[in-house]
């Protein structure tokens, strides 16, 4: 039995400890946020926050997060109570297909907890390990800047 905190709620899973966290989140816990993209920690679509740090769930065995706090895109906010990044991605229309969006928002959320006023270059560097194939990069950077401004203004 593996126990951890998911989006603020305690969960326990009776699965093999080697199971990738991504499979546990998507298939056992039926979350949609983290996406399978490569299974190789190369694209970032599967990112989740583990204790506030952006983590590739496709290569993280579920045993590694026992007793820890995991936050997914679902846990950041909702339509009724959106995270500033979620609002900003809508305002900037910062996607085409939206498949990489989870990783972009999760990685940006980790950045914004450590850097209140990131520059454009800092945002680009933070997202350097996240791939977007549709070419929404400039919009994504603008969305992160917009969310940072919102957070700084609050």
């Amino acid at each position: 039995m593996i126990e951890f905190t998911l989006n603020g709620q305690p969960v326990s899973l009776d699965i093999e400890p080697e199971t990738p966290l991504l499979e546990a989140l998507r298939n056992d816990l039926e979350l949609n946020g983290p996406k399978f993209g490569c299974g190789l920690a190369q694209c970032g679509a599967c990112a989740v926050l583990v204790e506030g740090r952006s983590t590739r769930s496709c290569v993280t065995p579920v045993s590694a997060i026992a007793g820890r706090k995991v936050t997914t895109l679902e846990g950041l906010g909702s339509a009724a109570n959106p995270h500033p990044l979620q609002s900003a991605f809508i305002a900037e229309q910062a996607m085409q297909c939206g498949y990489c969006t989870n990783g972009m928002i999760i990685t940006a959320a980790a950045l914004l907890t450590t850097s209140r006023h990131p520059t454009k270059t800092e945002i680009q560097q933070a997202l350097a390990g996240n791939l977007c194939r549709c070419g929404a990069h400039p919009r994504i950077v603008r969305a992160v800047q917009r969310a940072a401004d919102k957070l700084a203004g609050d």
Partner: protein, 737 residues
């Protein structure tokens, strides 16, 4: 002066355009839609529009959302004609049980075709509803108007609305060929940057994608592919995985090998074991990846004359210049590998797929698995961005084949990253030779263009072309691939945009269609347009320099289409061209221009870049683009498509090349197929020339070619080096001064 001369050329010169008409009645995927009329076979109004309970209107089209925003744009057109607010529109997904059959979502024709159909259908629906209201009110329908579905008489509410009038009934009417559509000056929704309907669900992690489909009892499948396209499975020890935890079944049919397990990890582990035990016959038939030009020119090919214009020479040829250009094989490389879910319920087979055409896919799968088309249902769900014919159709057929052997439980087949890189059909390598004859003024009067390319469409377009599926070819009783077809002009395949838009007196274009396909090839965004525009526009830049012309002036001097000239003039204005650096010092500005297919959107791109002084690498700084696509349905959606097209094309142009040996594909992950990353992406500024009086023109693929040329031309400007191979050579660039 110029106009007079050109009129003379067109009236006295001979103009020959060859249209290769398919003779057998079998069309390639790319031509099928071009020949569908807007409503062909879909003339029942209820197929397109339903007035639903709860104040909603359900719009059903045959085109799918691929990330390009088409769902929102088509909803805008429907809402506009119906006079309802956007919030009332519900867009249905494509489902072969009820959707209109609009073939594939491809070739940037969705607004032109589907948009035209839904506009006519919505106008007819509104007319019928107004007639019903007039009858009920005993008034003439002429005095009635509509506001958000409410029927008004002289601006006053009548108490009637669409939902009361239809009371859940169908229209039971046909869509006319020509409807009384709204006059464009009354548009309120079309032309606005309406936000995408699908974005909120995606940022709030709602079930927005095919991967979010979870059916009761669903099990997980993996395929085990050979190391190369035409390899054959000699033997495999299936017994070693039968005892592995969670394994439910090993499926083998000829060279097709797959495993089904209760959990994804178990399926992965079993697939790894099968892969280790499988023995393949490797044909070693792949070309030398560093000698693609040589291979293309020596491989078996068919000659297709594309275009031949013999005009009156405006001065004799005083100088002849030649150049050659090349393009490597390149991948779609969608962010997610292909996936599909299939359920064999005994009498019928249902497939959930992210392919571009559910109807053609249904026909192809039915033939492969031996069912009647009426027993197969295909339902579209979104996946990662799609830029052409990727692995989606093959994954769908794989899942269907596995489901046939494992009935009763939904099969979810997820391809691996390596499966996708090794098995998606690539954009074909190309080789291009150009010979230009210049007159004493330095302008082009004679143009000879030859291109060599594999096909650019091998879609499994229905039962007759089912043999294009991997599954069809790998089965014990295979279905042979259908004969290679040339996609005729004006759309063209490898020859798309091979005919320059410029007014050269003599133009001769030949396509050499390479019919050997040791690598899988098919449609990738723009098809041949990417390499053809790169070649034409690179050569135009070279000849402009050679003839001592400004690059804008050289193009404008040889164009007569006023919309083309307007795009170039606007591009020059917004980019502050007069402040262009002197050149040769590592800072380069270059332009590229084309009208996609010579029929749809006009796009000009200007790229500003800098050569990193110590490493000699290309650093993109800023891109400007101007687009004229006629009436713009959604300006922000238009900008997004052009921004994305520029960035994707920049990635192809600077980085992307499929790697392989004679026996296997070496590109298996993002490590061996790098794409542009955040810090490498330029700023992009897109300006739209909106022409509300002109028909809307397809634009989704229009930036690919101009961007490639703009980059190469900027590199020349920065360094004096002319780079003629796509991707642009990666060795260190030195400066000319």
């Amino acid at each position: 002066m110029k106009t007079t001369r050109r009129q003379f050329l067109y009236s006295s010169g001979s103009l020959l355009v060859y249209f290769a008409i398919p003779t057998s009645g079998v069309m390639t995927g790319e031509t099928a839609a071009a020949q569908l009329s807007r409503l062909d076979g879909n003339d029942a109004l209820d197929t397109w529009i339903r007035v639903e309970a709860g104040g909603k209107v359900r719009i059903s089209v045959g085109k799918v959302e691929l990330g390009q925003g088409i769902g929102t744009a088509l909803a805008q057109i429907a809402a506009e004609e119906l006079d309802v607010e956007m919030a009332r529109i519900q867009m249905a997904t494509v489902d072969t049980t009820h959707s209109p059959n609009e073939s594939y979502t491809y070739s940037s024709i969705s607004i032109m075709h589907s948009g035209s159909a839904i506009r006519t259908a919505a106008a007819e629906a509104k007319r019928i509803l107004l007639d019903l209201a007039a009858e009920s009110l005993n008034l003439s329908s002429q005095v009635l108007t509509v506001e958000d579905g409410q029927i008004l008489n002289a601006s006053k509410a009548t108490g009637l609305d669409y939902w009361k009038l239809l009371e859940g009934r169908n229209f039971n009417a046909a869509v006319p060929d020509e409807g009384q559509t709204k006059s464009r000056e009354h548009y309120r929704i079309v032309g606005q940057s309406v936000q995408r309907l699908d974005i909120p669900g995606k940022v709030f992690a709602e079930a927005a994608f095919l991967v979010d489909l979870r059916l009761p009892g669903m099990v997980h499948a993996r395929v085990v592919r050979p190391p190369a396209h035409r390899a054959r499975l000699l033997s495999v020890d299936a017994k070693i995985v039968n005892s592995m935890q969670g394994v439910l079944k090993v499926v083998r049919d000829g060279s097709f090998l797959a495993v089904v397990a209760e959990r994804e990890r178990h399926a992965d582990l079993a697939a790894d074991q099968l892969r280790k035990s499988a023995r393949w016959q490797l044909p070693e038939d792949l070309p030398d990846m560093d000698q693609l030009r040589l291979w293309l020119k020596s491989a078996k090919s068919e000659l297709y004359p594309v275009f031949d214009r013999r005009g009156e020479l405006d001065g004799k040829v005083v100088r002849t210049v030649t150049a050659s250009f090349n393009r490597a094989f390149q991948a779609h490389a969608s962010i997610s590998p292909s996936v599909a879910v299939a359920l064999n319920a005994g009498d019928d087979l249902t497939i959930w797929s992210h392919g571009q055409g559910m109807y053609p896919l249904r026909g192809a799968i039915a033939r492969v698995v031996g069912l009647d088309e009426s027993q197969v249902r295909c339902i579209y769900m979104e996946a990662a961005g799609c830029y052409g014919h990727n692995g989606a159709d093959d994954a769908a057929c794989d899942a269907a084949a596995i489901a046939m052997q494992f009935p009763g439980r939904p099969i979810r087949l997820q391809w691996s990253r390596a499966d996708e890189f090794c098995w998606e059909p690539y954009g074909s390598a190309m080789a291009i030779d150009i010979k230009a004859g210049l007159n004493s003024a330095g302008l082009i009067v004679d143009w000879q263009y030859d291109l060599w390319s594999c096909p650019h469409s091998t879609r499994p377009a229905g039962a007759k072309r089912a043999g294009n599926l991997i599954q069809a070819q790998h089965r014990e009783n295979p279905i042979s691939p259908p004969p290679v077809r040339s996609i005729p002009q004006p759309a063209g395949g490898g020859d798309r945009n091979s005919v320059p838009l410029y007014d050269f007196a003599n133009i001769k274009v030949n396509k050499h269609l390479v019919t050997e396909m040791p690598l899988r090839v098919s449609a990738l965004r723009g098809l041949g347009a990417y390499a053809n525009i790169f070649s034409i526009e690179s050569f135009m830049d070279e000849l402009a320099v050679y003839s001592s012309f400004d690059p804008f002036e050289y193009r404008i001097a040889q164009l007569s289409d006023p919309r083309a000239i307007a795009v170039l003039n606007k591009l020059r204005d917004i980019s502050a061209w007069s402040q262009r650096p002197p050149g040769g010092d590592g800072n380069g500005w270059g332009i590229g221009f084309a009208r996609f297919k010579n029929l749809t959107a006009y796009v000009g791109v200007l790229m500003q870049l800098q050569i990193e002084p110590t490493k000699g690498t290309i650093g993109l700084q800023q891109a400007f683009a101007v687009i004229d696509a006629g009436l713009i349905v959604n300006p922000d959606g238009t900008r997004a498509q052009i921004e994305g097209g520029i960035i994707q094309s920049a990635s192809w142009t600077l980085k992307e090349q499929l790697r392989f040996t004679h026996s296997e594909i070496q590109t298996r992950s993002w490590a061996s197929y790098p794409i542009l990353r955040f810090e490498e992406v330029p700023d992009v500024h897109v300006e739209i020339i909106n022409r509300p009086d002109q028909p809307p023109l397809g634009l989704g693929e229009a930036a690919q070619g101009p961007t490639a040329a703009a980059i190469a031309n900027a590199v020349f400007h920065a360094t004096g080096h002319r780079l003629r191979n796509l991707p642009l050579q990666q060795e260190k660039l030195t400066l000319s001064r």
